[in-house]
Symmetry: C2
Subunit: 334 residues, 2 copies
DNA sequence: CTGAAAGCGCTTACAG
DNA sequence: CTGAAAGCGCTTACAG
């Protein structure tokens, strides 16, 4: 591999001059001739700076890591887009990983913990990461911004308005005339899920309906079938259900079809989060669209603030969730 | 941040000794006491080696990058699992990205091109990456292993048996009694798609049926609706269709439902690739399952061979595709 | 067996 | 305006 030194030798200039050309910095005012010669050599040799050396010298890598729980979940598509765009605008590369890779002792975790290759971490773990691992992460100087609500006052986080999402989904069903509405999906350990469930409870109480215990069955498709099983075995069958996550909602839809329960005839379903899948299943899913892209942008802003040492305000992003009415909801039949 | 030097000072030993403890190398035979003291200081301070310095010194980062076209496509789930496991077994971290990020001049691309932070690249681009960018990538010393078939004899690649996949899907329909079978989805630029289409053609010819021109409408959900539109406007309506990609097959299913075409009553659908979505849609999708996990493992083996300079054989992995019969296929009605 | 020194490839304050 | 030198934090051949 050609090094800076080699380019300098070939162009018969100093390393500093080459560095200046590569980075467009101070030395900028060198003779046009010199500059041209250096550029020619760089192009000829195909020189590219060594990132490790740069990172070591500059004390920053120019790369941020995004780690999410269940990378395959389509709800992250928009989030990643927002993160990517905001990061690129700042000149940062982003690399992705799944929280499942953050096992204690894994090389991936080592890269997150060790300085030098990753400047900051954006993390959404839904309460699933080992406490030890999390403590290690916090003990490091690398800034971590959580992409979900936190109760811990010391951590940095940004989140969409999950409470409002749960509330809007529930209110939508209540306003359509449903009285027995349930909440299904998500994880007990997740504050995100807790917030959405709180939203459900708030809406129910406000409508003077009795909120039921949530069935926190997870985030994937199977969480939907499990959720369906839960409401079936609950004694009375509801006419409406709010499902945490679109994938789970799709799973619930499938389970309902398999058990001969008609949607929306016998059961109205609202999914939280919007994704392509909502338009693929039949009936199409009514969903609550969350501003995930904006979340991504805000998360990157947070990182920048942290890296610059600017005091920052944390919290929920202002943009409201939005209900997307499709075909999985209707007034209750009697 | 604590450095190695600082640990050495605190433990009153040389830097080499600390390095030996951290890495478990040569100096290993130091007195148990010394070792214990060093370990104590490391734990106390929470020392973690700087990855940039290590990468620079060792001339390898211990990280490989995986970049795929359309990261949100669920067909990659298994592939990534295979890659992750094989990489971890070798002590490598893996980081992910989307080909959309490989735009000329992007920081992400810079990280892939520049030595030092990424040791090797696993890439699946479906023919979509800019030729210039690809040329740049190839010009670099960083090994690139393509996760798809290549015609270029100089590139390194591993692939599943796409031709066989297209052939099996088609033969399955032919054997069920279909005579007019179409091929839909995928990309013109993609050798993967070409191979699957070739498989379709082979099967059709062998059954003495006339193969039709493929409709290369893409990989996403919309590719399915576009594909459906294509076969509808083709004059005669077929009784069977092979769809490149499960997501597209799901999209086609939805389009068929919207147009009142019954599946499998009027149209049998086979998707190439298996994913959770196949079990969510109704009717459930018959698919051809490809050994994506094995592909991931093989790709990492390739990388290892390349990094070690071992001569390697390239090509299609031996494990056969497998047809998963669900509910979207039936004999043609008359 | 252990420590001092060189050097990985850069960037940048500093001297000329 | 330009170059020589120091140093980022490690690892490893080498001298003691």
């Amino acid at each position: 591999m050609a090094t800076l030194k080699e380019i300098a030798r070939r162009a018969e200039v100093s390393a500093s001059a080459v560095s200046a050309v590569v980075n467009g910095t101070t030395h900028t005012r060198m003779s046009a001739q010199t500059r041209a010669r250096i550029e020619a050599v760089i192009a000829e040799v195909g020189y590219v700076p060594n990132d490790a050396a740069r990172a070591l010298r500059r004390q920053q890598a120019g790369t941020i890591a995004v780690v999410v729980e269940g990378l395959e979940n389509p709800v992250y598509k928009e989030l990643l887009l927002g993160i990517y765009e905001a990061a690129e605008a700042r000149g940062w590369a982003v690399v992705l990983g799944d929280t499942a890779w953050m096992r204690s002792g894994s090389p991936f975790l080592a890269r997150l913990l060790g300085q030098g290759s990753i400047d900051a971490i954006l993390l959404r773990h839904e309460g699933l990461i080992d406490g030890d691992v999390l403590a290690h992460l916090r003990a490091r100087p690398t800034p971590v911004v959580l992409l979900e609500q936190q109760s811990d006052p010391h951590s940095h986080w940004v989140a969409v308005d999950d409470l409002m999402a749960g509330r809007m989904a529930t209110e939508f069903l209540l306003q359509a005339g449903h009285t027995d509405v349930r909440f299904v999906g998500g994880l007990d350990e997740s504050r995100t899920s807790a917030a959405r469930y709180d939203g459900y409870v708030t809406a129910m109480k406000q409508a003077r309906r009795r909120p039921r215990a949530g069935s926190f069955t997870g985030f994937g498709v199977e969480a939907g079938s499990l959720g369906f099983a839960a409401i079936r075995s609950s004694g009375t069958f509801p006419t409406g259900v709010v499902v945490n996550n679109v994938m789970s909602a799709a799973g619930l839809l499938a389970a309902a079809a398999d058990h001969g329960v008609e949607v929306p005839g016998q059961l109205s379903v609202v999914g939280i989060h919007d994704a392509e899948i909502a338009d693929i299943v039949r009936p199409r899913l009514t969903t609550v669209r969350l501003p995930m892209r904006a979340l991504g942008v805000r998360a990157v802003d947070q990182v920048a603030a942290l890296l610059e040492g600017t005091p920052t305000t944390l919290g929920v992003i202002e943009s409201r969730p939005q209900i997307i009415v499709r075909a999985s909801t209707a007034p209750p039949s009697r």
